[in-house]
Symmetry: C2
Subunit: 319 residues, 2 copies
Protein backbone atom coordinates (compact mmCIF):
# COMPACT_ATOMS: atom_id res chain seq x y z
CA UNK A 1 0.00 0.00 0.00
CA UNK A 2 3.03 2.30 0.32
CA UNK A 3 3.03 2.63 -3.47
CA UNK A 4 -0.26 4.55 -3.43
CA UNK A 5 0.08 8.03 -4.89
CA UNK A 6 -0.76 10.94 -2.55
CA UNK A 7 -2.48 12.84 -5.34
CA UNK A 8 -4.07 11.81 -8.60
CA UNK A 9 -4.30 14.04 -11.67
CA UNK A 10 -7.55 13.48 -13.50
CA UNK A 11 -7.97 14.57 -17.10
CA UNK A 12 -11.66 15.07 -17.78
CA UNK A 13 -12.57 14.16 -21.36
CA UNK A 14 -16.35 14.06 -21.03
CA UNK A 15 -17.15 16.99 -23.32
CA UNK A 16 -14.81 15.87 -26.09
CA UNK A 17 -15.53 12.11 -25.89
CA UNK A 18 -19.19 12.48 -25.15
CA UNK A 19 -20.30 15.01 -27.71
CA UNK A 20 -18.40 13.39 -30.57
CA UNK A 21 -20.48 10.26 -30.19
CA UNK A 22 -23.89 11.33 -28.89
CA UNK A 23 -26.60 11.14 -31.55
CA UNK A 24 -27.71 14.64 -30.46
CA UNK A 25 -27.92 17.26 -31.82
CA UNK A 26 -26.66 18.91 -28.65
CA UNK A 27 -26.68 22.68 -28.61
CA UNK A 28 -23.51 24.72 -28.40
CA UNK A 29 -25.00 26.38 -25.31
CA UNK A 30 -25.37 23.02 -23.55
CA UNK A 31 -21.79 22.05 -24.37
CA UNK A 32 -20.59 25.35 -22.91
CA UNK A 33 -22.83 24.89 -19.86
CA UNK A 34 -21.26 21.48 -19.15
CA UNK A 35 -17.68 22.76 -19.59
CA UNK A 36 -18.28 25.72 -17.29
CA UNK A 37 -19.91 23.48 -14.66
CA UNK A 38 -16.98 21.03 -14.79
CA UNK A 39 -14.61 23.96 -14.19
CA UNK A 40 -16.35 24.59 -10.86
CA UNK A 41 -15.70 21.09 -9.49
CA UNK A 42 -11.96 21.38 -8.90
CA UNK A 43 -10.96 19.57 -12.10
CA UNK A 44 -7.84 21.20 -13.52
CA UNK A 45 -7.60 19.42 -16.88
CA UNK A 46 -10.57 19.65 -19.22
CA UNK A 47 -10.55 18.40 -22.80
CA UNK A 48 -13.25 20.56 -24.31
CA UNK A 49 -13.52 19.63 -28.00
CA UNK A 50 -12.15 17.95 -31.12
CA UNK A 51 -11.02 19.98 -34.13
CA UNK A 52 -12.00 17.35 -36.66
CA UNK A 53 -13.75 17.13 -40.00
CA UNK A 54 -17.41 18.04 -39.38
CA UNK A 55 -18.52 15.66 -42.13
CA UNK A 56 -16.96 12.76 -40.18
CA UNK A 57 -17.78 14.02 -36.67
CA UNK A 58 -20.84 16.26 -36.97
CA UNK A 59 -21.03 16.53 -33.17
CA UNK A 60 -17.97 18.77 -33.24
CA UNK A 61 -18.95 20.99 -36.18
CA UNK A 62 -19.34 23.77 -33.60
CA UNK A 63 -15.88 23.33 -31.96
CA UNK A 64 -14.90 26.97 -32.64
CA UNK A 65 -18.15 28.28 -31.21
CA UNK A 66 -17.76 26.16 -28.07
CA UNK A 67 -14.19 27.27 -27.43
CA UNK A 68 -15.00 30.90 -28.17
CA UNK A 69 -18.10 30.70 -26.01
CA UNK A 70 -17.04 29.27 -22.65
CA UNK A 71 -15.72 31.54 -19.93
CA UNK A 72 -12.24 30.27 -19.04
CA UNK A 73 -11.38 29.92 -15.38
CA UNK A 74 -7.81 30.75 -14.31
CA UNK A 75 -5.69 27.77 -13.32
CA UNK A 76 -7.50 25.28 -15.52
CA UNK A 77 -5.86 23.62 -18.50
CA UNK A 78 -8.41 23.53 -21.29
CA UNK A 79 -7.22 21.19 -24.03
CA UNK A 80 -8.47 19.99 -27.40
CA UNK A 81 -7.85 17.12 -29.76
CA UNK A 82 -6.80 17.22 -33.43
CA UNK A 83 -5.35 14.74 -35.92
CA UNK A 84 -3.85 16.78 -38.75
CA UNK A 85 -2.38 20.12 -39.81
CA UNK A 86 -5.78 21.69 -40.32
CA UNK A 87 -6.91 20.68 -36.84
CA UNK A 88 -3.72 22.06 -35.34
CA UNK A 89 -4.27 25.39 -37.10
CA UNK A 90 -7.82 25.55 -35.77
CA UNK A 91 -6.56 24.85 -32.24
CA UNK A 92 -3.73 27.39 -32.51
CA UNK A 93 -6.29 30.08 -33.30
CA UNK A 94 -7.28 29.68 -29.61
CA UNK A 95 -3.76 29.58 -28.16
CA UNK A 96 -4.77 32.29 -25.67
CA UNK A 97 -7.48 30.06 -24.21
CA UNK A 98 -6.35 26.50 -24.82
CA UNK A 99 -3.28 24.67 -23.54
CA UNK A 100 -1.80 23.53 -26.85
CA UNK A 101 0.30 20.41 -26.51
CA UNK A 102 1.14 17.82 -29.11
CA UNK A 103 1.29 14.07 -28.71
CA UNK A 104 2.55 11.12 -30.67
CA UNK A 105 -0.31 8.65 -31.01
CA UNK A 106 0.35 5.06 -32.02
CA UNK A 107 -1.68 1.87 -31.83
CA UNK A 108 -0.45 -1.42 -30.42
CA UNK A 109 -1.94 -3.58 -33.17
CA UNK A 110 -1.67 -3.51 -36.93
CA UNK A 111 -5.33 -4.53 -37.23
CA UNK A 112 -6.73 -1.62 -35.24
CA UNK A 113 -4.39 0.85 -36.94
CA UNK A 114 -5.89 -0.27 -40.25
CA UNK A 115 -9.45 -0.29 -38.96
CA UNK A 116 -9.26 3.08 -37.22
CA UNK A 117 -6.84 5.02 -39.42
CA UNK A 118 -6.90 3.13 -42.73
CA UNK A 119 -3.12 2.85 -42.78
CA UNK A 120 -0.43 0.41 -41.69
CA UNK A 121 1.61 0.85 -38.53
CA UNK A 122 4.63 1.77 -40.69
CA UNK A 123 2.56 4.42 -42.49
CA UNK A 124 1.31 5.66 -39.14
CA UNK A 125 4.85 5.99 -37.81
CA UNK A 126 5.68 8.03 -40.91
CA UNK A 127 2.60 10.22 -40.39
CA UNK A 128 3.59 10.78 -36.75
CA UNK A 129 7.12 11.77 -37.84
CA UNK A 130 5.67 14.49 -40.04
CA UNK A 131 3.12 15.58 -37.45
CA UNK A 132 5.77 15.82 -34.72
CA UNK A 133 8.00 17.94 -36.95
CA UNK A 134 5.02 20.15 -37.80
CA UNK A 135 4.14 20.66 -34.12
CA UNK A 136 7.69 21.54 -33.17
CA UNK A 137 7.99 23.93 -36.13
CA UNK A 138 4.97 25.80 -34.78
CA UNK A 139 6.48 25.97 -31.30
CA UNK A 140 4.11 23.32 -29.92
CA UNK A 141 5.77 20.96 -27.45
CA UNK A 142 5.49 17.18 -27.98
CA UNK A 143 6.32 15.34 -24.76
CA UNK A 144 3.54 12.77 -24.64
CA UNK A 145 3.23 9.39 -26.29
CA UNK A 146 -0.08 7.57 -26.36
CA UNK A 147 -0.61 3.90 -27.25
CA UNK A 148 -4.11 2.82 -28.22
CA UNK A 149 -5.40 -0.76 -27.87
CA UNK A 150 -2.60 -1.40 -25.40
CA UNK A 151 -4.44 -4.17 -23.51
CA UNK A 152 -6.29 -5.97 -26.30
CA UNK A 153 -7.93 -5.44 -29.64
CA UNK A 154 -11.32 -6.48 -30.99
CA UNK A 155 -9.64 -7.21 -34.36
CA UNK A 156 -6.55 -9.13 -33.29
CA UNK A 157 -7.18 -10.31 -29.73
CA UNK A 158 -4.87 -10.10 -26.73
CA UNK A 159 -1.95 -7.67 -26.71
CA UNK A 160 1.24 -8.56 -24.86
CA UNK A 161 3.55 -6.19 -22.99
CA UNK A 162 6.20 -7.08 -25.61
CA UNK A 163 3.96 -5.71 -28.38
CA UNK A 164 3.36 -2.51 -26.44
CA UNK A 165 7.04 -2.11 -25.63
CA UNK A 166 7.90 -2.47 -29.31
CA UNK A 167 5.41 0.26 -30.27
CA UNK A 168 6.60 2.52 -27.43
CA UNK A 169 10.12 2.17 -28.85
CA UNK A 170 8.80 3.32 -32.24
CA UNK A 171 7.23 6.35 -30.57
CA UNK A 172 10.37 7.22 -28.62
CA UNK A 173 12.40 6.94 -31.84
CA UNK A 174 10.09 9.43 -33.57
CA UNK A 175 10.59 11.86 -30.70
CA UNK A 176 14.35 11.38 -30.58
CA UNK A 177 14.66 11.94 -34.31
CA UNK A 178 12.65 15.15 -34.01
CA UNK A 179 14.79 16.30 -31.07
CA UNK A 180 12.09 16.24 -28.39
CA UNK A 181 11.81 14.16 -25.24
CA UNK A 182 8.83 12.03 -24.25
CA UNK A 183 8.13 12.40 -20.53
CA UNK A 184 4.58 10.98 -20.38
CA UNK A 185 3.36 7.64 -21.67
CA UNK A 186 -0.38 7.06 -21.88
CA UNK A 187 -1.66 3.51 -22.29
CA UNK A 188 -5.22 3.23 -23.53
CA UNK A 189 -7.54 0.26 -23.00
CA UNK A 190 -9.51 1.43 -26.01
CA UNK A 191 -11.78 -1.61 -26.33
CA UNK A 192 -12.06 -2.80 -22.73
CA UNK A 193 -9.70 -5.79 -22.68
CA UNK A 194 -7.89 -5.07 -19.41
CA UNK A 195 -8.36 -6.83 -16.11
CA UNK A 196 -6.29 -6.03 -13.01
CA UNK A 197 -3.56 -8.68 -13.49
CA UNK A 198 -3.04 -7.44 -17.07
CA UNK A 199 -2.72 -3.86 -15.78
CA UNK A 200 -0.15 -5.01 -13.22
CA UNK A 201 1.89 -6.98 -15.71
CA UNK A 202 1.85 -4.23 -18.35
CA UNK A 203 2.79 -1.47 -15.91
CA UNK A 204 5.48 -3.65 -14.38
CA UNK A 205 7.12 -4.48 -17.71
CA UNK A 206 6.84 -0.98 -19.17
CA UNK A 207 8.26 0.56 -15.99
CA UNK A 208 11.13 -1.89 -15.96
CA UNK A 209 12.11 -0.54 -19.41
CA UNK A 210 11.48 3.16 -18.75
CA UNK A 211 11.43 3.85 -15.01
CA UNK A 212 11.43 7.63 -15.53
CA UNK A 213 8.39 7.91 -17.79
CA UNK A 214 5.25 9.23 -16.11
CA UNK A 215 2.52 6.69 -16.81
CA UNK A 216 -1.09 7.65 -17.53
CA UNK A 217 -4.05 5.36 -18.17
CA UNK A 218 -7.08 5.78 -20.39
CA UNK A 219 -9.48 3.03 -19.32
CA UNK A 220 -12.69 2.31 -21.17
CA UNK A 221 -15.38 0.57 -19.15
CA UNK A 222 -16.57 -1.55 -22.05
CA UNK A 223 -16.86 -4.69 -19.92
CA UNK A 224 -17.30 -3.16 -16.46
CA UNK A 225 -13.66 -3.61 -15.40
CA UNK A 226 -12.47 0.03 -15.47
CA UNK A 227 -12.74 0.84 -11.75
CA UNK A 228 -10.96 -2.38 -10.74
CA UNK A 229 -8.27 -1.65 -13.35
CA UNK A 230 -7.81 1.87 -11.98
CA UNK A 231 -7.55 0.42 -8.48
CA UNK A 232 -4.82 -1.99 -9.59
CA UNK A 233 -2.95 0.92 -11.20
CA UNK A 234 -3.31 3.13 -8.12
CA UNK A 235 -1.76 0.38 -6.02
CA UNK A 236 1.23 0.51 -8.38
CA UNK A 237 1.53 4.26 -7.94
CA UNK A 238 -0.02 5.40 -11.23
CA UNK A 239 -1.25 8.93 -10.65
CA UNK A 240 -2.70 10.16 -13.93
CA UNK A 241 -5.97 9.03 -15.48
CA UNK A 242 -8.32 10.16 -18.21
CA UNK A 243 -12.01 9.88 -17.41
CA UNK A 244 -15.39 11.21 -18.42
CA UNK A 245 -18.12 12.63 -16.22
CA UNK A 246 -21.10 10.26 -16.03
CA UNK A 247 -19.15 7.79 -18.16
CA UNK A 248 -19.87 9.85 -21.30
CA UNK A 249 -18.60 8.38 -24.55
CA UNK A 250 -18.95 4.89 -25.96
CA UNK A 251 -21.55 3.97 -28.54
CA UNK A 252 -25.15 4.56 -27.50
CA UNK A 253 -27.79 3.44 -29.95
CA UNK A 254 -31.54 3.59 -30.01
CA UNK A 255 -33.10 2.22 -26.83
CA UNK A 256 -29.87 0.62 -25.65
CA UNK A 257 -26.89 1.86 -23.76
CA UNK A 258 -24.38 0.29 -26.13
CA UNK A 259 -20.72 -0.20 -25.36
CA UNK A 260 -19.79 1.95 -22.37
CA UNK A 261 -17.50 4.95 -22.50
CA UNK A 262 -14.54 5.90 -20.39
CA UNK A 263 -14.25 5.24 -16.67
CA UNK A 264 -16.67 7.58 -14.85
CA UNK A 265 -14.82 10.53 -13.35
CA UNK A 266 -17.00 10.55 -10.25
CA UNK A 267 -16.49 6.83 -9.54
CA UNK A 268 -12.72 7.29 -9.94
CA UNK A 269 -12.84 10.29 -7.60
CA UNK A 270 -14.87 8.37 -5.01
CA UNK A 271 -12.41 5.47 -5.13
CA UNK A 272 -9.39 7.77 -4.74
CA UNK A 273 -10.82 9.99 -2.01
CA UNK A 274 -12.13 7.03 0.01
CA UNK A 275 -8.63 5.53 -0.21
CA UNK A 276 -7.12 8.76 1.09
CA UNK A 277 -5.73 9.85 -2.29
CA UNK A 278 -6.49 13.50 -2.98
CA UNK A 279 -7.98 14.56 -6.31
CA UNK A 280 -8.70 18.22 -5.59
CA UNK A 281 -12.26 17.57 -6.75
CA UNK A 282 -15.51 18.26 -4.92
CA UNK A 283 -17.31 14.95 -5.47
CA UNK A 284 -20.81 16.20 -4.68
CA UNK A 285 -20.44 19.05 -7.16
CA UNK A 286 -19.13 16.60 -9.74
CA UNK A 287 -22.10 14.28 -9.20
CA UNK A 288 -24.39 17.24 -9.87
CA UNK A 289 -22.55 17.84 -13.15
CA UNK A 290 -22.94 14.15 -14.02
CA UNK A 291 -26.68 14.54 -13.56
CA UNK A 292 -26.55 17.66 -15.77
CA UNK A 293 -24.70 15.63 -18.44
CA UNK A 294 -27.45 13.01 -18.32
CA UNK A 295 -30.09 15.69 -18.72
CA UNK A 296 -28.18 17.25 -21.66
CA UNK A 297 -27.75 13.99 -23.59
CA UNK A 298 -31.29 12.90 -22.75
CA UNK A 299 -30.60 9.30 -21.80
CA UNK A 300 -29.24 7.22 -18.93
CA UNK A 301 -25.45 7.40 -18.54
CA UNK A 302 -23.35 4.45 -17.30
CA UNK A 303 -22.36 6.03 -13.97
CA UNK A 304 -23.95 4.26 -11.00
CA UNK A 305 -22.75 6.92 -8.59
CA UNK A 306 -24.66 9.84 -10.10
CA UNK A 307 -27.85 7.90 -9.34
CA UNK A 308 -26.83 6.87 -5.81
CA UNK A 309 -25.02 9.93 -4.42
CA UNK A 310 -21.72 10.13 -2.55
CA UNK A 311 -21.01 8.47 0.79
CA UNK A 312 -20.30 11.85 2.38
CA UNK A 313 -23.89 12.96 1.78
CA UNK A 314 -25.09 10.01 3.85
CA UNK A 315 -22.35 10.42 6.44
CA UNK A 316 -23.48 14.01 7.02
CA UNK A 317 -27.13 12.97 7.29
CA UNK A 318 -26.21 10.23 9.77
CA UNK A 319 -24.02 12.46 11.94
CA UNK B 1 -1.54 -14.24 -6.00
CA UNK B 2 -1.21 -17.67 -4.42
CA UNK B 3 -4.34 -16.90 -2.38
CA UNK B 4 -6.55 -16.92 -5.49
CA UNK B 5 -9.24 -19.59 -5.32
CA UNK B 6 -9.17 -22.23 -8.07
CA UNK B 7 -12.95 -22.24 -8.35
CA UNK B 8 -15.63 -19.72 -7.45
CA UNK B 9 -19.19 -20.64 -6.51
CA UNK B 10 -21.65 -18.10 -7.84
CA UNK B 11 -25.14 -17.85 -6.40
CA UNK B 12 -27.40 -16.29 -9.02
CA UNK B 13 -30.10 -14.13 -7.45
CA UNK B 14 -31.30 -12.29 -10.55
CA UNK B 15 -34.83 -13.74 -10.67
CA UNK B 16 -35.50 -13.19 -6.94
CA UNK B 17 -33.81 -9.77 -6.61
CA UNK B 18 -34.88 -8.49 -9.98
CA UNK B 19 -38.53 -9.37 -10.08
CA UNK B 20 -39.21 -8.19 -6.53
CA UNK B 21 -38.23 -4.66 -7.53
CA UNK B 22 -39.12 -4.26 -11.19
CA UNK B 23 -42.19 -2.08 -11.75
CA UNK B 24 -43.49 -4.78 -14.12
CA UNK B 25 -45.89 -6.45 -14.28
CA UNK B 26 -43.72 -9.29 -15.54
CA UNK B 27 -45.51 -12.42 -16.60
CA UNK B 28 -45.06 -15.72 -14.80
CA UNK B 29 -44.07 -17.22 -18.16
CA UNK B 30 -41.22 -14.69 -18.55
CA UNK B 31 -39.95 -15.43 -15.04
CA UNK B 32 -39.93 -19.14 -15.83
CA UNK B 33 -38.23 -18.48 -19.17
CA UNK B 34 -35.41 -16.60 -17.43
CA UNK B 35 -34.94 -19.28 -14.75
CA UNK B 36 -34.81 -22.07 -17.33
CA UNK B 37 -32.34 -20.12 -19.48
CA UNK B 38 -30.09 -19.47 -16.46
CA UNK B 39 -30.08 -23.21 -15.74
CA UNK B 40 -28.50 -23.79 -19.18
CA UNK B 41 -25.46 -21.56 -18.49
CA UNK B 42 -23.66 -23.79 -16.00
CA UNK B 43 -24.88 -21.88 -12.92
CA UNK B 44 -25.52 -24.39 -10.12
CA UNK B 45 -27.18 -22.12 -7.55
CA UNK B 46 -30.30 -20.24 -8.59
CA UNK B 47 -32.46 -18.26 -6.20
CA UNK B 48 -35.75 -18.34 -8.03
CA UNK B 49 -38.29 -16.44 -5.89
CA UNK B 50 -39.36 -14.87 -2.61
CA UNK B 51 -42.22 -16.31 -0.56
CA UNK B 52 -43.31 -12.96 0.80
CA UNK B 53 -46.51 -11.04 1.41
CA UNK B 54 -47.92 -10.19 -2.03
CA UNK B 55 -49.36 -6.93 -0.67
CA UNK B 56 -45.82 -5.80 0.19
CA UNK B 57 -44.03 -7.39 -2.76
CA UNK B 58 -46.57 -7.69 -5.58
CA UNK B 59 -43.81 -8.82 -7.98
CA UNK B 60 -43.73 -12.16 -6.14
CA UNK B 61 -47.48 -12.75 -5.83
CA UNK B 62 -46.96 -15.56 -8.35
CA UNK B 63 -44.11 -17.31 -6.47
CA UNK B 64 -46.00 -20.64 -6.32
CA UNK B 65 -46.82 -20.54 -10.02
CA UNK B 66 -43.21 -19.80 -10.91
CA UNK B 67 -41.81 -22.63 -8.80
CA UNK B 68 -44.47 -25.07 -9.99
CA UNK B 69 -43.92 -23.97 -13.57
CA UNK B 70 -40.21 -24.20 -14.27
CA UNK B 71 -38.66 -27.45 -15.41
CA UNK B 72 -35.96 -28.32 -12.86
CA UNK B 73 -32.60 -29.43 -14.18
CA UNK B 74 -30.75 -32.15 -12.24
CA UNK B 75 -27.69 -30.97 -10.34
CA UNK B 76 -28.90 -27.42 -9.84
CA UNK B 77 -29.77 -26.04 -6.41
CA UNK B 78 -32.92 -23.99 -6.78
CA UNK B 79 -33.44 -21.86 -3.68
CA UNK B 80 -35.98 -19.35 -2.41
CA UNK B 81 -36.16 -16.62 0.19
CA UNK B 82 -38.63 -16.22 3.07
CA UNK B 83 -38.82 -14.21 6.27
CA UNK B 84 -41.40 -15.90 8.50
CA UNK B 85 -43.25 -19.11 9.34
CA UNK B 86 -45.77 -18.63 6.57
CA UNK B 87 -43.02 -18.15 4.00
CA UNK B 88 -41.24 -21.26 5.25
CA UNK B 89 -44.45 -23.30 4.91
CA UNK B 90 -44.92 -22.06 1.35
CA UNK B 91 -41.33 -23.03 0.53
CA UNK B 92 -41.63 -26.46 2.20
CA UNK B 93 -44.57 -27.24 -0.08
CA UNK B 94 -41.92 -27.42 -2.83
CA UNK B 95 -39.33 -29.45 -0.92
CA UNK B 96 -39.10 -31.84 -3.84
CA UNK B 97 -37.98 -29.08 -6.18
CA UNK B 98 -36.27 -26.50 -3.97
CA UNK B 99 -33.17 -26.81 -1.83
CA UNK B 100 -34.58 -25.69 1.52
CA UNK B 101 -31.95 -24.20 3.79
CA UNK B 102 -32.40 -21.77 6.63
CA UNK B 103 -30.22 -18.80 7.52
CA UNK B 104 -29.80 -16.44 10.41
CA UNK B 105 -30.02 -12.90 9.04
CA UNK B 106 -28.79 -9.96 11.10
CA UNK B 107 -27.91 -6.37 10.29
CA UNK B 108 -24.72 -4.61 11.32
CA UNK B 109 -26.41 -1.35 12.30
CA UNK B 110 -29.25 -0.52 14.64
CA UNK B 111 -30.48 2.20 12.25
CA UNK B 112 -30.88 -0.09 9.23
CA UNK B 113 -32.46 -2.82 11.36
CA UNK B 114 -35.11 -0.28 12.37
CA UNK B 115 -35.51 1.12 8.86
CA UNK B 116 -35.71 -2.23 7.12
CA UNK B 117 -37.40 -4.45 9.73
CA UNK B 118 -39.10 -1.97 12.07
CA UNK B 119 -37.47 -3.53 15.11
CA UNK B 120 -34.38 -3.11 17.24
CA UNK B 121 -31.32 -5.32 16.92
CA UNK B 122 -32.24 -6.98 20.25
CA UNK B 123 -35.74 -7.69 18.94
CA UNK B 124 -34.25 -9.00 15.73
CA UNK B 125 -31.94 -11.36 17.64
CA UNK B 126 -35.02 -12.62 19.51
CA UNK B 127 -36.91 -13.10 16.23
CA UNK B 128 -33.95 -15.04 14.78
CA UNK B 129 -33.87 -17.27 17.86
CA UNK B 130 -37.48 -18.24 17.24
CA UNK B 131 -36.99 -18.60 13.50
CA UNK B 132 -33.93 -20.81 13.95
CA UNK B 133 -35.80 -23.08 16.37
CA UNK B 134 -38.73 -23.24 13.95
CA UNK B 135 -36.48 -24.22 11.04
CA UNK B 136 -34.73 -26.92 13.02
CA UNK B 137 -38.06 -28.27 14.30
CA UNK B 138 -39.12 -28.72 10.66
CA UNK B 139 -35.90 -30.54 9.85
CA UNK B 140 -34.49 -27.55 7.93
CA UNK B 141 -30.77 -27.04 8.43
CA UNK B 142 -29.47 -23.65 9.54
CA UNK B 143 -25.74 -23.37 8.83
CA UNK B 144 -25.51 -19.92 7.29
CA UNK B 145 -25.28 -16.51 8.92
CA UNK B 146 -25.79 -13.36 6.88
CA UNK B 147 -24.91 -9.81 7.96
CA UNK B 148 -26.53 -6.95 6.08
CA UNK B 149 -25.05 -3.44 5.84
CA UNK B 150 -21.69 -4.93 6.79
CA UNK B 151 -19.62 -2.25 5.03
CA UNK B 152 -21.64 0.89 5.66
CA UNK B 153 -25.17 2.17 6.14
CA UNK B 154 -27.06 5.05 4.55
CA UNK B 155 -28.64 5.74 7.96
CA UNK B 156 -25.65 5.55 10.27
CA UNK B 157 -22.57 5.88 8.07
CA UNK B 158 -19.41 3.78 8.12
CA UNK B 159 -19.41 0.32 9.72
CA UNK B 160 -16.26 -0.99 11.42
CA UNK B 161 -15.03 -4.58 11.51
CA UNK B 162 -15.59 -4.43 15.30
CA UNK B 163 -19.30 -3.73 14.76
CA UNK B 164 -19.58 -6.62 12.31
CA UNK B 165 -17.66 -8.96 14.61
CA UNK B 166 -20.02 -8.10 17.45
CA UNK B 167 -23.09 -8.90 15.33
CA UNK B 168 -21.49 -12.11 14.04
CA UNK B 169 -21.02 -13.15 17.67
CA UNK B 170 -24.74 -12.56 18.26
CA UNK B 171 -25.55 -14.76 15.29
CA UNK B 172 -23.19 -17.54 16.37
CA UNK B 173 -24.74 -17.43 19.86
CA UNK B 174 -28.21 -17.89 18.37
CA UNK B 175 -26.97 -20.94 16.47
CA UNK B 176 -25.12 -22.40 19.46
CA UNK B 177 -28.17 -22.00 21.67
CA UNK B 178 -30.30 -23.79 19.06
CA UNK B 179 -27.72 -26.57 18.75
CA UNK B 180 -26.69 -25.95 15.16
CA UNK B 181 -23.36 -24.92 13.70
CA UNK B 182 -22.74 -21.98 11.39
CA UNK B 183 -20.30 -22.94 8.63
CA UNK B 184 -20.91 -20.09 6.18
CA UNK B 185 -20.79 -16.36 6.87
CA UNK B 186 -22.17 -14.01 4.23
CA UNK B 187 -21.28 -10.33 4.43
CA UNK B 188 -23.54 -8.01 2.44
CA UNK B 189 -22.61 -4.56 1.16
CA UNK B 190 -26.30 -3.76 1.02
CA UNK B 191 -25.98 -0.04 0.25
CA UNK B 192 -22.73 0.12 -1.70
CA UNK B 193 -20.28 1.44 0.90
CA UNK B 194 -17.37 -0.92 0.28
CA UNK B 195 -14.15 -0.10 -1.51
CA UNK B 196 -11.30 -2.61 -1.88
CA UNK B 197 -9.30 -1.60 1.23
CA UNK B 198 -12.47 -1.94 3.34
CA UNK B 199 -13.07 -5.40 1.90
CA UNK B 200 -9.49 -6.38 2.72
CA UNK B 201 -9.66 -5.08 6.28
CA UNK B 202 -13.06 -6.64 6.99
CA UNK B 203 -12.12 -10.05 5.60
CA UNK B 204 -8.80 -9.94 7.42
CA UNK B 205 -10.33 -9.16 10.81
CA UNK B 206 -13.27 -11.54 10.47
CA UNK B 207 -10.97 -14.37 9.33
CA UNK B 208 -8.62 -13.74 12.22
CA UNK B 209 -11.56 -14.41 14.57
CA UNK B 210 -13.09 -17.34 12.71
CA UNK B 211 -10.54 -18.92 10.37
CA UNK B 212 -12.78 -21.92 9.65
CA UNK B 213 -15.89 -20.07 8.50
CA UNK B 214 -16.47 -20.09 4.75
CA UNK B 215 -16.88 -16.46 3.71
CA UNK B 216 -19.35 -15.31 1.05
CA UNK B 217 -19.92 -11.80 -0.27
CA UNK B 218 -23.07 -10.08 -1.47
CA UNK B 219 -21.87 -6.90 -3.21
CA UNK B 220 -24.25 -4.26 -4.46
CA UNK B 221 -22.90 -2.05 -7.22
CA UNK B 222 -24.60 1.09 -5.93
CA UNK B 223 -21.54 3.28 -6.53
CA UNK B 224 -19.77 1.28 -9.24
CA UNK B 225 -17.27 -0.41 -6.90
CA UNK B 226 -18.62 -3.99 -6.92
CA UNK B 227 -16.23 -5.54 -9.45
CA UNK B 228 -13.18 -3.99 -7.77
CA UNK B 229 -14.47 -5.21 -4.40
CA UNK B 230 -14.94 -8.72 -5.78
CA UNK B 231 -11.41 -8.59 -7.17
CA UNK B 232 -10.01 -7.61 -3.76
CA UNK B 233 -11.91 -10.51 -2.17
CA UNK B 234 -10.76 -13.00 -4.81
CA UNK B 235 -7.18 -12.04 -4.05
CA UNK B 236 -7.86 -12.95 -0.43
CA UNK B 237 -9.21 -16.33 -1.45
CA UNK B 238 -12.93 -15.64 -1.10
CA UNK B 239 -14.69 -18.15 -3.33
CA UNK B 240 -18.42 -17.59 -2.92
CA UNK B 241 -20.39 -14.63 -4.29
CA UNK B 242 -24.01 -13.71 -4.85
CA UNK B 243 -24.72 -11.88 -8.10
CA UNK B 244 -27.52 -11.09 -10.53
CA UNK B 245 -27.57 -11.53 -14.27
CA UNK B 246 -27.49 -8.18 -16.06
CA UNK B 247 -27.16 -6.51 -12.66
CA UNK B 248 -30.89 -7.02 -11.99
CA UNK B 249 -32.20 -5.54 -8.77
CA UNK B 250 -31.75 -2.09 -7.30
CA UNK B 251 -34.33 0.66 -7.58
CA UNK B 252 -35.27 1.66 -11.11
CA UNK B 253 -37.63 4.57 -11.40
CA UNK B 254 -39.25 6.38 -14.29
CA UNK B 255 -36.74 7.54 -16.89
CA UNK B 256 -33.75 6.87 -14.65
CA UNK B 257 -31.73 3.83 -13.86
CA UNK B 258 -31.80 4.45 -10.11
CA UNK B 259 -29.50 2.85 -7.59
CA UNK B 260 -27.85 -0.17 -9.17
CA UNK B 261 -28.49 -3.75 -8.13
CA UNK B 262 -26.12 -6.55 -7.30
CA UNK B 263 -22.80 -7.14 -9.01
CA UNK B 264 -23.50 -8.41 -12.55
CA UNK B 265 -23.01 -12.16 -12.78
CA UNK B 266 -21.49 -11.96 -16.23
CA UNK B 267 -18.93 -9.32 -15.25
CA UNK B 268 -17.95 -11.39 -12.21
CA UNK B 269 -17.63 -14.47 -14.44
CA UNK B 270 -15.49 -12.58 -16.97
CA UNK B 271 -13.20 -11.33 -14.20
CA UNK B 272 -12.81 -14.83 -12.71
CA UNK B 273 -12.33 -16.70 -15.97
CA UNK B 274 -9.85 -14.16 -17.34
CA UNK B 275 -7.90 -14.54 -14.07
CA UNK B 276 -7.85 -18.31 -14.51
CA UNK B 277 -10.43 -18.98 -11.79
CA UNK B 278 -13.05 -21.46 -12.98
CA UNK B 279 -16.75 -20.73 -12.53
CA UNK B 280 -18.24 -23.61 -14.49
CA UNK B 281 -20.28 -21.05 -16.43
CA UNK B 282 -20.47 -20.51 -20.17
CA UNK B 283 -20.03 -16.74 -20.38
CA UNK B 284 -21.41 -16.30 -23.87
CA UNK B 285 -24.57 -18.19 -22.96
CA UNK B 286 -24.86 -16.10 -19.80
CA UNK B 287 -24.52 -12.87 -21.80
CA UNK B 288 -27.38 -14.04 -23.99
CA UNK B 289 -29.49 -14.56 -20.86
CA UNK B 290 -28.53 -11.05 -19.68
CA UNK B 291 -29.87 -9.69 -22.95
CA UNK B 292 -33.03 -11.76 -22.44
CA UNK B 293 -33.40 -10.25 -18.95
CA UNK B 294 -33.12 -6.76 -20.43
CA UNK B 295 -35.79 -7.61 -22.98
CA UNK B 296 -38.07 -9.03 -20.26
CA UNK B 297 -37.82 -6.01 -17.95
CA UNK B 298 -38.05 -3.63 -20.88
CA UNK B 299 -35.30 -1.22 -19.92
CA UNK B 300 -31.51 -0.91 -19.92
CA UNK B 301 -29.78 -3.01 -17.24
CA UNK B 302 -26.55 -1.91 -15.54
CA UNK B 303 -24.33 -4.60 -17.07
CA UNK B 304 -21.79 -3.15 -19.51
CA UNK B 305 -20.73 -6.59 -20.66
CA UNK B 306 -24.08 -7.69 -22.07
CA UNK B 307 -23.82 -4.73 -24.46
CA UNK B 308 -20.17 -5.32 -25.39
CA UNK B 309 -19.86 -9.11 -25.61
CA UNK B 310 -17.18 -11.39 -24.16
CA UNK B 311 -13.50 -11.26 -25.06
CA UNK B 312 -13.60 -14.84 -26.33
CA UNK B 313 -16.04 -13.87 -29.08
CA UNK B 314 -13.49 -11.37 -30.39
CA UNK B 315 -10.57 -13.74 -29.84
CA UNK B 316 -12.31 -16.33 -32.02
CA UNK B 317 -13.06 -13.78 -34.73
CA UNK B 318 -9.44 -12.60 -34.67
CA UNK B 319 -7.94 -16.09 -34.80
Amino acid sequence: MTDLPKHVEIHEEGPREGFQIEPGPISTADKIRLIEALAETGLEHLQVCSFVNPRIVPGWADAENVVAGFKAKPGIHYTALWFNANGLERALAFHDKLTIKGAIALTATEAFTQKNLHRSHAENVEAMRKQTALHLSKGVKVNRLGIMAAFGCNYSGDVSPAQVISVVKDGLAIAAEAGTEITELSLADTMGWAIPPRIERMIGEVRAQWPNLTLALHLHDTRGMAVSNAHAALKMGVSQFDSTVGGLGGCPFAGQKGAAGNICTEELVLLCEEMGISTGINLDKLIEVGRMAEEIVGHVLPSELIHAGSLDVFRKQAA
